[in-house]
């Protein structure tokens, strides 16, 4: 009788840990970039392409 449940659980466990880490990293990065963009926009910084279409400065 083969009991290899430990190996099966370990592979699923490691996969969950790595994938959760990957997803959280992407979500944390997303939040950081969104915040930085918002902060720049409230400071009134515009990208060149936006400034041109607005005709401002």
């Amino acid at each position: 009788m083969m009991t290899h449940t430990g190996f099966v659980l370990a592979s699923y466990g490691v996969s969950i840990v790595v994938l959760v880490a990957l997803v959280s990293w992407i979500l944390i990065d997303q939040r950081a970039q969104r915040r930085a963009l918002q902060e720049l926009e409230t400071r009134g910084v515009r990208r060149r392409s936006e400034a041109r279409t607005d005709g401002a400065s």
């Binding site: 083969m2 290899h4 099966v8 592979s11 699923y12 996969s15 990957l22 963009l37 720049l40």
Partner: protein, 255 residues
């Protein structure tokens, strides 16, 4: 304008970073939902699947190991297509796509190696052998790490994009080597049993859960890739805007 031309125009429009972000905003919630549904169905089917008559419960590792291994190669193929986009059309989104895909590919490759090792110990009696399949996948993992390092080595993406694209394309030679290593050399790793001439050799009770899991993880890859691409576009915008802000502050300082 004919239907085909307008359709082509729509794809060209998508290649504009702003349009891509709008498109991602609409598509991502759906993609996340479908990914979770398919993965949940795949997991449920995997746990319902019977044990293998020879491998016992370790066959459950197959349902994640095989999709991870497929994705490690598919991700590299996506990066190679992006590399062609960078070199031929010099499209900025192509470099964004390659840079965003690399860490995701590295994660899937690492998981393929780890789950393979955890499967190898009970079935082969060893965690690792330097046979052609395992070694070539390990080389793929190192390639991912090299590409990640190169994409982040220089501040200006315009400088690193070409070098990264060339390195990626040179490394693509490894993909057919991985795929056919089990046929070309005598490996401890088993030969292909799903995508092969003459049809799959796996019993349907194990094949179906595997296919659903593979579709689920592929959807997961595209969801994460799209999210990471959007992050990268935003990151480049932040850098560009900070530069503009610094320049205008400098101008104000000198006046």
């Amino acid at each position: 304008m004919s239907e085909a031309v307008s359709k082509a125009r729509r794809w060209v429009d998508l290649a504009n970073p702003t349009r891509f972000i709008n498109f991602a905003g609409i598509v991502l919630p759906w993609l996340v939902g479908i990914t979770l549904l398919v993965l949940a169905a795949g997991l449920w089917m995997s746990f319902q699947a019977p044990d293998d008559y020879q491998q016992g419960s370790t066959v459950k590792i197959m349902f994640i190991h095989v999709p991870f291994a497929w994705l490690s190669m598919m991700c590299y193929t996506v990066m190679s297509i992006s590399a062609i986009g960078t070199l031929v059309w010099r499209h900025p989104l192509a470099d964004v796509s390659a840079k965003a895909a690399a860490p995701i590919g590295a994660a899937f490759t690492a998981l393929a190696l780890i789950t393979g090792s955890l499967w190898g110990k009970p079935m082969w009696g060893t965690w690792w052998v330097w046979d052609a399949r395992l070694t070539s996948v390990f080389v793929l993992f190192l390639m991912y790490l090299g590409i990640i390092a190169l994409t982040r080595a220089m501040d200006d993406p315009a400088k690193s994009s070409k070098a990264t694209a060339i390195l990626t394309l040179v490394g693509f030679i490894n993909i057919p080597i991985i795929k056919f290593s089990v046929d070309w050399w005598n490996t401890l790793h088993q030969p292909a049993s799903v995508i092969r001439m003459g049809g799959p050799t796996i019993h349907p009770s194990l094949l179906w859960p595997l296919l659903v899991m593979a579709v689920g993880f592929t959807l997961l890859f595209f969801t994460l890739h799209m999210m990471a691409m959007r992050n990268e576009i935003w990151r480049r915008r932040v850098v560009a805007m900070r530069r503009i802000a610094a320049r205008s502050a400098e101008r104000r300082g000198t006046q």
